[in-house]
Subunit: 148 residues, 2 copies
Amino acid sequence: MEPTVVDQWRELTARQVRIGNVLEQALEQQHGLSRHEFEVLDQLAECAPDAKPRVQDIADVVPITQSALSRLIGRLEKQGLIERRLCEADRRGINVFLTDAGRARHAEAQPTYRAVLTREFASCDAAEAAGLALGLGELFEARSRAAG
Amino acid sequence: MEPTVVDQWRELTARQVRIGNVLEQALEQQHGLSRHEFEVLDQLAECAPDAKPRVQDIADVVPITQSALSRLIGRLEKQGLIERRLCEADRRGINVFLTDAGRARHAEAQPTYRAVLTREFASCDAAEAAGLALGLGELFEARSRAAG
DNA sequence: AAGAACTTAATGCAGAGGAATCTAGTGCAC
DNA sequence: GTGCACTAGATTCCTCTGCATTAAGTTCTT
């Protein structure tokens, strides 16, 4: 039977949440970083060394709100992983840079990040092929069949 | 170029978040329900009328934790949309049922839900075909090319 | 039948998120 | 140059979440 748009949505969400949780756990336990915190470090690490990314630029590529990002950056700064500098060209803006500690922490965490994603995508694809993600309705149907 | 596992993850997350936000907004504004609240109502509505779903059963199909679900159910109950009854077979458990008001609210919100999903999946697929979701690195490369 | 081990759901607590607001800085119109 | 509309980012307020714990109920062991 063809999956409905609702099935697709539930499938998409289930995957994202499941992988996200595993990722969160791994990064938190092994490197003391939340998923979003790592994502920001990762985006900064991808930048050219001469780039001057502002908060807004980061907000464009990490799907959280401006207010959450502002606080997240505050936390990273407090840990000494990034540095905030006033943007010379436009003094409303704030440029964000990795510190050496930040670069080191990122380098340390990136393998974990990639390993988790590789593993989870593989196992998720397998699960999808098996056709998971039933709803409460199907779950009860299955039960009554089992109970006969 | 072949997308890396990181690209896949960012793409997956971006989609899920984007659609989730639109959904949240639509359901909240038009029907006074959060995304998760609707999802629970929807799962309950899918059940056979004689099914006696317990909290744990719902937790199995809605990707939030037990504690969050317990409170979410509390909120729905306070709004009179569902009813909690002690499970006869196992008196630790709580059976959850839609009230008439809950069924009505769900019937009212479901078209919105489906319409949003249909529309967003279509536009998301289009965006994906166009190859979106660049990172901070690419963003700056694009800029320097433009400035070049 | 008594008690240990486990399960179900609720709750205290602390942290993270979003919407709206506030402050400071920019740029355009005149 | 003065005033007005706009933008960047920080902050306030409130809600939701997760983790850890608790209370009540069940099941297994002996």
